[in-house]
């Protein structure tokens, strides 16, 4: 059932990390004895440090975004499992240069709790820490009675924009403020046609019929909010964009950045076909698309499917989105 290029299911994260460090010695170093990858030059003096993290299986998130202009460190959990507080704390120690640390957290109970505990431990040591919780997934209802929306591909825009401001020497407050602005202005929604298989589980995350799809999917192989008959690319794109626009409510003439994110097994060809429709709809609504990103930014192992993300841009965000970045997966 499980066809993977692995050795032992329990070792995938360890071996991936070793492979990454071997492949990118100019960019990354591993904090010894941990699953934390940080910038080669960490801690960077006089700079607010950014840490992101979460379960593995979302590559290139998050270690692919470690480098100048984006993240200082990534803390890697087991596949789809939040990293533990001790690991996050090691990450904080490795990147902190005294100007404070921003923790970029996707809104999942596990991530929130583990990062919170790490932040409490760091603060107890006198390290200045702020947290930003990303919750861009409009598939999930956001109310005080729920855990709120999930964080998905929109998180990468937070890395980019907050990272660019930090690189300019801004304070922790400033970096946190701009991260909050991105979170307010970014919305996503995803869908999948096939499940994925967590190596240690050895079986697909759900069963799905030959002509079915899941709409409103997250990035952990979980079922979506709705199962329906597989539709055309145009219909799927329309549905995802409609939900995103409904929630974000951009005005005609607004500027935006678009991300069409592949979940793992979907060819670039199909992502561009989705994008064709997305860009047509945005043109109709008179949304000015300033920049477009089509590819795999936040995956869910080998799931077939995609998500559509829209980020409303003002001048500040546009400038920071365009600022230089030099990481494995994002170069500008």
């Amino acid at each position: 059932m499980m066809k993977k290029l692995i050795n032992h299911p329990e070792n995938v994260v360890q071996e991936m990390i070793e492979g990454m460090v071997h492949a990118h010695p100019q960019r990354l170093k591993r904090v010894p004895g941990t699953n934390v990858l940080v910038r080669r030059d960490a801690p960077v003096r006089g700079k607010v440090a950014l840490i992101s993290g979460g379960g593995s299986g979302h590559e290139p998130s998050h270690a692919g975004y470690v480098g100048a202009g984006m993240l200082d460190g990534a803390v890697l959990g087991e596949v789809f499992t939040s990293p533990t507080p001790d690991q996050i704390l090691e990450g904080i120690h490795a990147v902190n240069s005294g100007k404070g640390v921003l923790l970029i957290i996707k809104n999942y109970t596990g991530d929130i709790m583990n990062f919170e505990m790490a932040a409490e431990l760091a603060e107890a040591e006198g390290i200045e820490v702020k947290k930003i919780v990303v919750n861009d997934d409009v598939a999930v209802e956001d109310s005080t009675y729920t855990t709120g929306r999930r964080g998905i591909a929109g998180t990468v825009f937070v890395h980019k924009i907050a990272g660019a401001l930090a690189e300019k020497g801004a304070s922790l407050e400033e970096v946190h403020r701009v991260a909050e602005k991105v979170v307010k202005q970014v919305r996503s929604m995803g869908m999948a046609m096939t499940p994925c298989t967590v190596p240690a589980a050895g079986r697909p995350s759900f069963e799905i019929g030959e002509h079915e799809m899941e709409i409103g999917i997250g990035i952990h192989g979980e079922p979506g909010t709705e199962r329906s008959r597989l539709a055309s690319a145009d219909d799927i794109a329309s549905k995802l964009v409609a939900h995103v626009l409904d929630d974000l409510k951009p005005a005609p003439g607004d500027k935006a950045a678009v991300m069409i994110n592949g979940l793992g097994a979907t060819p670039l060809m199909e992502l561009y076909i989705i994008h064709k429709k997305v860009s047509e709809i945005l043109a109709e609504k008179n949304i000015q698309v300033i920049d477009t990103f089509v590819g795999e930014y936040m995956t869910s192992l080998e799931m077939a499917g995609c998500s559509v993300t829209l980020l409303k841009l003002d001048d500040e965000l546009t400038e920071l989105l365009n600022a230089p970045a030099d990481t494995i997966a994002w170069k500008k």
């Binding site: 789809f80 499992t81 109970t109 709790m113 505990m117 209802e141 909010t225």
Partner: protein, 210 residues
């Protein structure tokens, strides 16, 4: 009737065995309404906890509890790691310096554990989480006090676990499924039941019922 260091270690080792045996079952439950890793997470954490205790000569319940807490916190990850970790951390606080715990002292520790879980996870009774086992169990122990029957507690814990099945999840990953989360047991409620079942069996075995 009292818990001591040896029984505590036996409890955790028994809980570990139960979790290892049910690793796939727990993941299967999590696959239905979560992300399918609960068994993997718990198995990784309890294996570590059991292993750390095995070498330990400590008889201080607080210290033993603390070791379990740290093992769970640093090995489980996900949502259940900080929650089970916090539970044992809080129990460690209550039992610090004690090498015996009466049922009353157990109920005090459980009360703190439940407070810790709820503080960390912000879930309430009925949200379809592990709280739905921990909170009633803690109350049951407090109410029965010295009249507690381990066998009854075990049956009671299992009933609480079963009650999570029809509920719609309001916290954790299962909450994203909305109404689709009904009709499935909550994985964390099931692993919590295993933990209490192991406690009851350990106490029963060593002391007989009551």
């Amino acid at each position: 009737m009292t818990l001591d260091g040896t029984k505590f270690v036996n409890w955790i080792r028994r809980a570990n065995r139960r979790i290892q045996e049910n690793k796939d079952y727990l993941s299967e439950l999590d696959r239905a309404i979560g992300d399918g890793d609960h068994g993997i997470n718990m198995a990784r954490g309890f294996a570590e906890a059991a292993q750390r205790l095995t070498g330990s000569a400590d008889q201080d319940l607080g210290a033993l509890c603390q070791q379990v807490a740290m093992a769970l916190l640093s090995k489980v990850g996900g949502a259940s790691g900080p929650l089970f970790g916090t539970a044992f951390l809080k129990m460690a606080g209550v039992w610090k310096g004690k090498d015996h715990a009466s049922v009353h002292e157990l109920s005090l520790a459980l009360r703190e554990a439940v407070n810790g879980i709820k503080m960390r996870g912000k879930a309430e009774l009925g949200d379809k989480t592990m709280v739905d086992v921990w909170e009633p169990v803690s109350r049951f122990v407090a109410e029965k006090a010295e009249h507690l029957s381990w066998r009854e507690l075990c049956v009671f814990a299992e009933e609480q676990m079963d009650k999570t099945k029809p509920l719609q999840a309001k916290k954790g990953r299962a909450a994203y499924l909305g109404p689709r989360s009904s009709g499935h047991l909550d994985p964390g409620a099931v692993s919590s039941f295993f933990l209490f079942e192991a406690l009851c069996e350990t106490m029963e075995e060593s002391g007989g019922d009551r």
